[in-house]
Symmetry: C2
Subunit: 324 residues, 2 copies
C-alpha cells in the first residue's frame, strides 16, 4: 500500500470524474441559490451551493457514497465502519443503506439523540463510546476487528476526498465559473476535494478555508507550515472541531489561498442572515464562510464567489439566537 | 372594460406564456426539492416547488412582476399601489423597484416591522392605516387618488393570476409531470394560476387547495357553490386569512378537485417536519399542503405530488415550536 502522502498526491481529476459517475444515482445535484440582499451587503456576487439539501443533510454523502459504491463485492459484504459524532455517521449509514450492506458507527454516548436516530433510520448500527479519544479508539478497534468492515475515515480517506471534489465540479457547471470559493474547514475533506477539482479545472480560482477562531488549528497550521492539532476546541460550529490529517494537509498546504477566521458571534450573525435572506436551514459550520466574507469585504468585493453550504442538520429546538 | 368574471374566463394559456417571458429576467426559476424521508412518511413521491427562494421570499413576485412590467410607459410613470400586510407588499415593491417606478403600499400599522423594513428596502413607500377594513379602504382611496398609481390587487387581478400561473408551468417541466398538485389557498391567486396552467397543459392533474380549519372560507365556499367570506379569521397561517374574490372563485369553482382543511397543530407539525427534513425556511402558510397530505394519505399514496412552498418570510425569533 502506498503511504498516505503519496495517496493524496496521486489523486487526479479523473478520480473525481470516476467518483461523480459512481455517486450520481445516489446524491442530489444540489441547487445554487442567490440572494440580492446578501450580494448588496457584501458587494460580491455570491453563489451558494446548497449541500444541506443532500438527503442526509450534508456534502458528506458524496464521499461516503464514493467509498461505499467503490468497494468490491467481496469487501462490501463485510460492510463499512467509522467513528463520527456527526454528518459522516449519517452519510455513511445512508450510503451503506443504499447499497444494502452493514454500517457500524462508533459514536460518543453524548452525541445528539437526533443524530443517533438518523443513523439508525438509515440502517446503521451504533456502538457507543465515552466522549474521549482513547475510548473512541479502543471501541472502534473492537468493532472493526469483530466485523471486518472497511474503515472509511470521515475526511482523511482519498475516496472520501474524491467524492467531496464533485461538489465544486457541479458548482463550476452551475455558475459558469467563479473568482473564488469559500468553504468551511474542519478536518479538511471538503476543502481538499475543492482543491483537487479547482487546481485542475480552474486553477485561477482562489480557495479560502474559513474557520472559527475558537478552533483555528487549520489557520495556525497554514501559517506554521505543518499540522498543528488543537486539544479539544470548543465552538458552536461543531462540524469543524477535528484536526487536519496528512491527506488533507497536502491539499491545504499546496492549494489554499488563505484561512480566515471568525468569532462565535460572527458565525451566529451570518447564520441568521442566511436563514433570513437565503431561507435555507443550515448548521453553524455552514455560516463560517459568509462570516469570513463579511469580515474581509476587500477580498471579495466585485468578485463572483462560490460559497459552500456544507450541511443542514441542526436542532430546531435550540437555535443559537433563541438561546438565552 | 370587461366585467370581472369575464376577465378570469377570458384568460388563456397564451397569457401565462406571455407573462412567463415578461417576468423571466426578474424572478428565480426556483428549484424542486425532494426528501426521501418525507416520501417514506407519506407513501407519495413529493416534489416541493420552493417559491420561498424568490428574492422577496414568495411566489407573489411572479404576479407582481407581470403586472408591473406589463404597464405601458405612461402608466408606469404614475407607479403602482396596493394594500397588503404581507408578501404582496414586498413583492410589488420589489417589482416596482426593478422597473424603477413608484410603489405605494397601504399597510396596517400593526404589520410586522420586518415586513415594513423589507418594503422600504425595495423602495416602496408605506402609508399606514388602522387594522380594519374601513380604515384600509379609506386610506387606500386617498393614496390612489393622490398618486394616480395603478392598483394591483394581491390576487383578484388577472395579471397577477397569470404571473402565479408560471409557477406550475415550471414545475411541470422540472418534474416531468405529476398526478396531483397541492397548494395553500387564501385569496386564491396561486390556486387560480395553478388551475389556469394545469387545466390547459395537464388537465388530468388533480388540484387540491389546502386551507387552515380556522380560516376555512374557501372550503365552505367550495361546498356551498358560492363565495363565503369569513369575518376576521385567526390562524398561524397568516397569508391565508383573506377571502376569495370573483376572479379566483371562477378558477376554484371550476377546476379545484377538493379543499382539504387542517388544524393549527397539524400546520405547525408539518412546518417543523419540512424545516427538519427538507431543510428550507418556510412560513406556516406553506406547511398547509404537507399537513393536508399527511391527513389524507389515501388520496396521495403512490402518487407523484407537486407541493408548492409559497413563501419563506417568517420571524426567526418567534418560531411556533419555540413559543411557550
Amino acid at each position: 500500500m502506498l503511504d498516505a502522502m503519496t495517496l493524496a498526491e496521486a489523486l487526479t481529476i479523473e478520480d473525481m470524474r470516476t467518483a461523480h459517475e459512481r455517486i450520481r444515482p445516489h446524491i442530489n445535484r444540489t441547487p445554487v441559490l442567490q440572494s440580492q440582499y446578501l450580494n448588496d451587503l457584501t458587494g460580491a456576487e455570491l453563489f451558494f451551493k446548497c449541500e444541506n439539501f443532500q438527503e442526509a443533510g450534508a456534502f458528506k454523502v458524496r464521499g461516503a457514497c464514493n467509498a461505499v459504491f467503490g468497494l468490491s463485492e467481496e469487501a462490501a459484504q463485510r460492510g463499512v465502519c467509522t467513528h463520527s459524532s456527526g454528518n459522516h455517521a449519517l452519510s455513511l449509514s445512508y450510503a451503506a443503506g443504499r447499497r444494502g450492506i452493514p454500517c457500524n458507527v462508533v459514536m460518543p454516548r453524548t452525541a445528539p439523540q437526533a443524530k443517533k436516530d438518523a443513523v439508525r433510520r438509515y440502517g446503521g448500527t451504533i456502538t457507543e463510546c465515552e466522549p474521549s479519544t482513547s475510548s473512541r479508539e479502543a471501541v472502534f478497534a473492537e468493532v472493526q476487528a469483530a466485523t471486518g468492515g472497511e474503515f472509511v475515515h470521515p475526511y482523511n480517506d482519498p475516496r472520501v476526498i474524491c467524492g467531496q471534489a464533485t461538489c465544486s465540479a457541479e458548482m463550476l457547471e452551475q455558475t459558469g465559473g467563479v473568482d473564488a470559493v469559500v468553504a468551511p474547514i474542519g478536518g479538511g475533506g471538503m476543502i481538499s476535494g475543492t482543491c483537487l477539482t479547482l487546481s485542475n479545472l480552474a486553477p485561477e480560482v482562489k480557495i479560502y478555508a474559513a474557520e472559527p477562531e475558537q478552533a483555528d488549528d487549520a489557520a495556525r497550521s497554514f501559517r506554521a507550515g505543518h499540522i498543528i492539532a488543537d486539544d479539544a476546541p470548543e465552538t458552536i460550529a461543531d462540524g469543524l472541531k477535528v484536526p487536519l490529517k496528512e491527506n488533507t494537509w497536502h491539499f491545504v498546504s499546496n492549494f489554499v489561498t488563505d484561512v480566515p477566521t471568525v468569532s462565535e458571534q460572527e458565525i451566529v450573525d451570518a447564520m441568521k442572515l442566511t436563514w433570513k435572506y437565503l431561507r435555507v436551514v443550515m448548521e453553524p459550520s455552514s455560516a463560517v464562510p459568509l462570516a469570513a466574507i463579511l469580515k474581509n469585504p476587500d477580498l471579495f468585493r466585485g468578485k463572483r464567489v462560490g460559497v459552500i453550504i456544507t450541511g443542514g442538520n441542526v436542532d430546531l429546538d435550540r437555535l443559537p439566537w433563541t438561546l438565552g
